[in-house]
Symmetry: C2
Subunit: 146 residues, 2 copies
């Protein structure tokens, strides 16, 4: 998908991915070793009443699904994200889908090989609860001239 | 550090962490497998002129450093982040420090065991270039009554 193919209002739903206890602990022991992400005993005593995934793991898995499924195949990086919200915990056994909607598109005024696509992303679990949202801007390659 | 110990204007600088080629590829192959994060040949041909770290890896490593160094030892999670900006690429061999400043603090009005701390985080490399910034809100436990 080149820049020209993204239209405001377009929606995309990824395949699902199931979070596991070992996947949650493996990520968090390296990147986010807070007790409620790595220690099932402490997590049970915490306000979360059990182990929950690092929000950074939840975030990053969206990109894995996007790239695996070709949603940002012509991606050239990102300048940033806004309004990231962690709304509900993600627990072992939860299966998340990423739902995305194109909010806006803008061709680059300085470089004719790319454009910017603003995307609203929601992470939805198997109970149709939205667990996380963010607005992100993705740089996408324009279709090369023939 | 309990909630009461965070004061507006307080600054914190973490120890450094060096990004390696294998660390960058290991993270990205799982979470962000774009060519410029996992394939040195394609990365060399890209606009980045070489392999760069996933911005999600850069983000998550801040938390590793925070927790390792006790900056958010009494952390109870986070409702979200705003204005995340990836400003410069992070490459193998780059060493990043996290510099943080407390922007604001607010005791929870509904739960007397916690408060909210707003933190501005900058990731700074060995050339003193700011490569990433974000504003994040952290929930911090209040000091228990004696």
């Amino acid at each position: 998908m080149y820049f020209e193919e993204y239209k405001v209002g377009d929606k995309f739903r990824s395949s699902g991915v199931t979070f596991t206890e070992s996947g949650i602990i493996d990520f968090a022991i390296k990147y986010d070793p807070q007790p409620f992400h790595i220690d099932v005993e402490e997590a049970a005593k915490s306000q979360y009443k059990g182990l929950i995934a690092s929000g950074f793991q939840t975030l990053a898995l969206a990109f894995r699904m996007y790239i695996q499924e070709g949603f940002i195949k012509q991606g050239m990086g990102s300048p940033g994200m806004d309004e990231l919200r962690w709304l509900k915990p993600v627990r072992p056994g939860d299966t998340l889908h990423i739902e995305s909607e194109v909010l806006g598109t803008k061709a680059s005024s300085s470089r004719n090989d790319r454009g910017y696509v603003d995307i609203f992303c929601s992470w939805v679990n198997q109970r149709d609860e939205v667990v996380m949202t963010v607005r992100l801007t993705q740089i996408i390659r324009r279709r090369p001239p023939k």
